[in-house]
C-alpha cells in the first residue's frame, strides 16, 4: 500500500466531513455533553451517600476506594459509570463517518471514477477507515483529558485518582481504539449492503449493544472491569474486528462495487 495515496483519500474524506454539518453536529455535540455531565453529576451526588449495601458491594470490588469519604465514594461511583460513555464515542463517531462516507459515495456514484484510477481497493479502504477511526478515537481521548482536568480542578485529588486509575486508562486508551476499529468494520460491512446512512447506523449500532451491557452491569455495581479485564476485552474485540475487516475488504472488491452496489 502506498502512503501517499492513502493520505490523498484521507485528506479528501476529512475535507468532506468538516463540510457536512449534520455529521459534524453528531461528532461534536456528545463530547461536549460528556465532559460536563459527569462533573455535574458528581457534584449533585457529592453530599449524598450510597446505600450501605451498595457501598459494601462497591468497596468489595474496589478496595482501593476504602480511603474515600462517603461523599467521595458516591461521587466516584457516579463518575465511574461514565467510563463506558468514553467507549461509546470511539464507537459511534467512526460508525457515523464510515457510513456517511461509503453510502454518500454510493449515492453520488463517485466511486467508479476513483476505482478507474490506479488506486488499489485496499488503499481506498485504508484511507476511509483511518479517516473514520481517528476522529472518534481522538475525540474520546481529548474529551477524557478535559474531563480529568475538570474533575481534578473541581473535586480535588480524590476523584482525580479515581478517573486516572488503571481501569480508566486501559479502557480509554486500549479498549476505546479497539471498539473504534470494530465500529469502522461494522460501518464498512453494513454500508456495502444498504443505501441509507441512518439505516446503516442503526444496523451497525448493534456493535454498541455489548457496550451498553457494560453500562448496565457497572451501574448496578454487578461488575467492575479492572485494567486487565479491559486489556483482554480490547484484544478480543481487535481479533473480531480483524476477521470482520477481511469480510469488509471482500465486500469492497472493485467488481462488487461496480456491478452489485446499487
Amino acid at each position: 500500500m502506498r502512503a501517499g495515496i492513502i493520505m490523498t483519500v484521507l485528506r479528501r474524506e476529512w475535507f468532506e466531513t468538516v463540510r457536512n454539518r449534520l455529521l459534524m453536529s453528531t461528532i461534536l455535540l456528545p463530547p461536549i455533553l460528556l465532559t460536563v455531565a459527569p462533573i455535574a453529576l458528581a457534584g449533585a451526588v457529592g453530599s449524598e451517600r450510597l446505600p450501605p449495601e451498595l457501598a459494601t458491594q462497591v468497596l468489595s470490588q474496589r478496595p482501593e476506594w476504602a480511603a474515600l469519604t462517603p461523599g467521595e465514594l458516591a461521587g466516584a461511583f457516579a463518575v465511574q459509570q461514565f467510563l463506558v460513555f468514553f467507549l461509546l464515542m470511539p464507537a459511534y463517531i467512526p460508525l457515523s463517518i464510515a457510513t456517511f462516507s461509503i453510502i454518500g459515495e454510493k449515492q453520488a456514484r463517485s466511486l467508479e471514477p476513483v476505482l478507474a484510477a490506479p488506486i488499489r481497493t485496499s488503499e481506498l479502504l485504508a484511507g476511509k477507515a483511518i479517516a473514520a477511526l481517528v476522529p472518534g478515537v481522538l475525540a474520546g481521548w481529548a474529551t477524557y483529558v478535559v474531563f480529568v482536568l475538570l474533575a481534578s480542578l473541581v473535586y480535588g485529588p480524590a476523584l482525580f485518582g479515581v478517573v486516572t486509575d488503571g481501569s480508566w486508562l486501559a479502557g480509554v486508551f486500549l479498549l476505546g481504539p479497539a471498539v473504534g476499529l470494530s465500529s469502522v468494520v461494522a460501518g464498512v460491512i453494513v454500508s456495502a449492503r444498504v443505501n441509507d446512512p441512518r439505516v446503516a447506523q442503526q444496523i451497525g449500532g448493534v456493535i454498541i449493544v455489548p457496550i451498553v451491557g457494560l453500562v448496565l452491569l457497572q451501574a448496578t455495581g454487578t461488575l467492575f472491569l479492572g485494567p486487565f479485564g479491559y486489556a483482554v476485552l480490547a484484544v478480543i474485540i481487535l481479533i473480531i474486528s480483524l476477521v470482520g475487516l477481511r469480510i469488509g475488504v471482500r465486500l469492497f472488491d472493485r467488481e462488487a462495487i461496480l456491478t452489485r452496489w446499487r
Binding site: R12, F15, A108, R109, V114, A116, P118, I119, R120, L258
Partner: protein
C-alpha cells in the same frame, strides 16, 4: 501476456474474443475490436447492449470472463494498474464530489494519478479554461449545472493525459444546450487528435463525432465508418422533381441508363436508385432534359444512421428513415 511497446503500435486498443458473463448471462461475447491512435470510435447500441460492460473491461474496472484486450499495449487483466494509469473515463454519471470545489475535485484525481503539484496546477488551469469553467473554479461542484458537471468530469478524465479516453453516454440526461456544450468539448478533443471511445445510444452524436461506429448488441454486430455504413446498408438514391411529373417516356429513358438500380415515380417525383447517386446525377439530368422533362430540383439522398441502425441491428424501422444530403 499480450504486450507491445505502446509507442511502437498504431493500435491504441485491441480486443480479441472479449467476453463478460454475469451469472449465466453473457453481457458481451466474442468482441473483436481495434482502435487506432487518434481515432474516435463510437460504440452504438440499445440500453443493455453491453456498451458499459465493454468500456469497463477495456478500462480494467472489471475482468473479462474470456478473451483478451490490450490498451496502449498493456493487457487489461495482467497489467490492470498500468491500463488504469493510461486511460481516462467519463462514467455514466459525473460522480463528482459535490462538497469539493472544481479545483479540489481535479486536484484529488491529479494526486491519485501521481501528478506532481506543478503539473496538477498547470493542467487543472488548462482544462478549466478549455471547458469554460475557470471562473467557477472555486465553487463547489454541487452548485454546477448538469452540463458543467459533465464538462468537469471530462476534464477529470483528461487530467493525467491518458492515451485513450472513454466517454460513456456523455450527453445522456442532458438538456439540448448542455448536450451541445459537451459535444463541442468532445469535438475539441477530436481535433486535438485524442483517441476516444464513445459509448452512446445517440445516433446523431455518433454520426457527427465518430470516425468509425461499432454497432454493439452483446457483442460486435458491425463496425465501419459512417460513410461505409451508408454505402453498405440501405438504399442511396437521386430524387428529381419535374415541373410536370415524370412521363412513361422519361421513366423508360432513365431505366435504360447504365448504373441505375431502380426507377420509380412517387407523387410526381422521380426516384432513381443507384450505388453512387452523385456521379450519375449529371447524366440523369441530361437524359431527362433530352426526353423533354423540365427539371426543377435534384437531390441525392442517403440512408440515415437511424435506418442503418435498424437494419444492422435487425429491428424493423417505424419510418422511412431517409434524410436529405447535399
Amino acid at each position: 501476456m499480450t504486450e507491445t511497446r505502446p509507442a511502437d503500435s498504431p493500435i491504441a486498443v485491441r480486443a480479441t474474443r472479449l467476453g463478460r458473463r454475469f451469472g449465466e448471462r453473457w453481457a458481451v461475447r466474442d468482441m473483436d475490436l481495434e482502435v487506432r491512435r487518434g481515432e474516435v470510435l463510437g460504440l452504438l447500441g440499445p440500453n443493455g447492449a453491453g456498451k458499459t460492460t465493454t468500456v469497463r473491461m477495456l478500462t480494467a474496472l472489471i475482468e473479462p470472463s474470456e478473451g483478451t484486450a490490450t490498451v496502449d499495449g498493456f493487457d487489461v487483466r495482467e497489467r490492470s494498474d498500468d491500463v488504469r494509469a493510461r486511460v481516462g473515463i467519463l462514467t455514466e454519471t459525473p460522480g463528482l464530489y459535490d462538497k469539493l470545489s472544481a479545483t479540489a475535485n481535479l486536484d484529488f484525481f491529479g494526486r491519485l494519478y501521481g501528478l506532481d503539484a506543478a503539473t496538477r496546477a498547470e493542467r487543472i488551469g488548462h482544462y478549466l479554461r478549455l471547458f469554460g469553467l475557470w471562473d467557477r473554479r472555486d465553487d463547489v461542484a454541487g452548485t454546477f449545472s448538469k452540463g458543467m458537471k459533465q464538462k468537469l468530469a471530462i476534464a477529470r478524465a483528461l487530467l493525467h493525459d491518458p492515451a485513450v479516453v472513454f466517454l460513456d453516454e456523455p450527453t445522456a440526461a442532458l438538456d439540448p444546450e448542455a448536450a451541445f456544450l459537451v459535444r463541442e468539448s468532445i469535438e475539441t478533443l477530436r481535433k486535438a487528435g485524442r483517441t476516444i471511445i464513445l459509448a452512446t445510444h445517440n445516433l446523431d452524436e455518433a454520426d457527427r463525432l465518430c470516425d468509425r461506429i461499432a454497432f454493439v448488441r452483446a457483442g460486435l454486430v458491425r463496425i465501419d465508418t459512417p460513410a461505409g455504413l451508408r454505402g453498405g446498408v440501405g438504399t442511396r438514391r437521386l430524387t428529381v422533381r419535374l415541373a410536370s411529373g415524370p412521363s412513361k417516356a422519361i421513366l423508360d429513358a432513365v431505366r435504360a441508363m447504365p448504373g441505375i438500380d431502380a426507377v420509380e415515380a412517387v407523387d410526381g417525383v422521380l426516384r432513381v436508385g443507384a450505388a453512387d447517386p452523385e456521379s450519375i446525377a449529371p447524366s440523369v439530368v441530361r437524359t431527362l432534359v433530352a426526353a423533354g422533362g423540365d427539371v426543377v430540383e435534384v437531390r441525392t439522398e442517403q440512408a440515415s444512421l437511424e435506418r442503418i441502425y435498424f437494419e444492422v441491428m435487425g429491428v424493423r424501422p417505424g419510418a422511412d428513415g431517409m434524410q436529405a444530403g447535399d
